[in-house]
Assembly symmetry: C2
Homo-oligomer: 340 residues x 2
């Protein structure tokens, strides 16, 4: 027990998230103890007292907090001493290997972009989210899940490149299948953005490392048909939240039905153990949050209602990305395509 | 038994759909027999022999069929004698009160638009789809679900008007809550189209009959928070198929878990009756298909894999729309707003 944990710590925004700081600190402590991943906890020292001096934990004071509903751009400009900005600075300055925040998504993005800088070759950062595929070993990656409301076809090509590299890093998928989200499989289907992006991807604009399988539809996202789904940030965010809502509605209704009467409740006890692995698989806390791709460092954005378990998984995802050299992989895949 | 069914028949495209003509004819016969709704079955006479002479059933020959994957525009231009075109003509010519097709969606739309004509005041027809809300009495309407890939803000205002009228006709909802699909509740969130549409709707451009509640998100669609969700046809179609996929993935996984071992299967027998109403509620066959709004007649588009049960429900929906004067309601709500 209490083994020495090695390597640079993962910077964790102790103040970000609906359940901050309690659940965030608990998750950080658990990650250091159980996964032996060192953590740099950044936040109000008053909230971090219990964590101080624990094995694998460093603490760094930050006296400002960006609220969940604050304007991200303004917050990052005016609250230079906030925990989320300090996390990005820790990565920039080489005191941390990666950052994790469950706070204001826009503020985490802006902090990462402004402090770590843009990745060489990337026009715009994108948020890649893990979509659970019940029963499958590898999950689907969806990007952009909301960083860029308006996109150009060229941006979608870069999302294909970055998503492909992430799928390999994250799930070990060799030659991941990249699909373009549209409303029909034919190249002629979709809006102007999708049609132009299809032409570019079909023409090999993403390079030989990207295995483009053509258009995919909304119904393919939660299946094993595709590994990486590329779309603009507006559509991606709508899809992500639609999936969340649908999963919640159906699983809630199933649970409601199984507890509707005392008799059914009693009978359901015998089947609950069979349903538990599924419940874990569709729980977003299992996936440790989204990754911001296209910045010069690893930035994991966990959802606002993150529990300690979600934070443990986010730290694990961040550390995996560092160990597997995600940033170098992204830089490599973003190289311009074609004869130079 | 065999009561006389009254009123103009509903024209049914006997040849449209993956399970046509068998399931379509079976559904038509059942609607005539059990719901006492007269049906005009249009299709290849060879396929309609069993239906001929049945009470409440008229048969009309059509010797061409539009395939599921044919180009809709070309199909409607070149196959003037096809069953789907003849259905729209039956409505235009006053031989039928409404049409139902489970065939090529684009061909049904094009037939309705070209033969029945555009509704006075409507700039573009839109497809309104019923989204199940587990446990709720009224379901959510989503439009446009795919008729218009590119939309203007003005079109979204009309979708708000037409969706509102349909919600009242279909579910009896008084003062239905209309939400604009975006990626955040604030007016500042969304792409350019959504921001402009928000401004118009907020400013009352849809008229006093439309109760606009602001932006809604993907996670609200399957809840009781909103009655009508307005979006462009690209996003709407993606949302619809994403929901279908998610519902299928989760319910499939639940079923898989409940039949994973003989022991669980045995135990699950006791809880299955509690799950059956939910299964029916999330089954698209329950809702009888989408309605094409903005054409001068009632056109119900059932999904491609429609069973007899789906066709019965589609015929019921069509008849309800006729009885409740949906087209007149739409024309009324589409009146220009403001001082004349």
């Amino acid at each position: 027990m209490n083994k020495v944990v090695d390597g640079l710590p993962v910077a964790v925004d102790a103040m970000g998230g609906d359940k901050a700081p309690a659940e965030i600190v608990a998750g950080a402590l658990q990650a250091a103890r159980e996964l032996e991943i060192p953590v740099l906890l950044i936040g109000d020292p008053k909230c971090l007292k219990d964590a101080e001096g624990q094995p694998g934990i460093q603490v760094e004071p930050a006296y400002e907090v960006v609220d969940m509903d604050e304007d991200p751009g303004r917050a990052v400009r005016t609250k230079r001493g906030s925990s989320v900005v300090r996390c990005a600075e820790a990565v920039r300055d080489g005191r941390a290997s990666a950052m994790v925040s469950a706070g204001n998504t826009g503020a985490a993005m802006a902090s990462a972009l402004l402090r770590m800088g843009r990745l060489k070759g990337a026009s715009r950062p994108a948020i890649a989210t893990v979509i659970p595929v019940p029963g499958a070993a590898a999950q689907t990656l969806l990007l952009d899940s909301g960083a860029n409301v308006e996109c150009t076809p060229h941006m979608l090509v870069q999302f294909a490149q970055m998503g492909s590299a992430l799928s390999t890093e994250r799930f070990g998928t060799a030659n991941p299948r990249v699909g373009l989200l549209s409303i029909g499989e034919e190249a002629s289907k979709g809006n102007a953005l999708v049609k132009e992006a299809h032409e570019l991807l079909e023409g090999g604009a993403a390079g030989p490392q990207v295995h483009f399988i053509g258009n995919v539809e909304g119904r393919d996202v939660m299946t094993e048909r595709v590994d990486v789904v590329v779309t603009d940030g507006f559509t991606g965010n709508v899809v992500l939240k639609t999936l969340e809502g649908a999963v919640r509605a159906v699983s809630g209704a199933v649970l409601g039905a199984l507890t509707s009467t005392e008799e059914v409740k009693e009978a359901a006890r015998a089947v609950m153990p069979a349903l538990m692995p599924l419940a874990a698989q569709i729980d977003p806390d299992t996936y440790g949050g989204a990754i911001l791709l296209g910045v010069n460092g690893v930035c994991v954005i966990s959802h606002g209602s993150s529990s300690a378990r979600a934070i443990v998984n986010a730290i694990k995802v961040a550390r995996h990305a560092v160990d597997e050299k995600l940033v170098a992989r992204l830089e490599d895949v973003l190289q311009p395509v074609g004869p130079q």
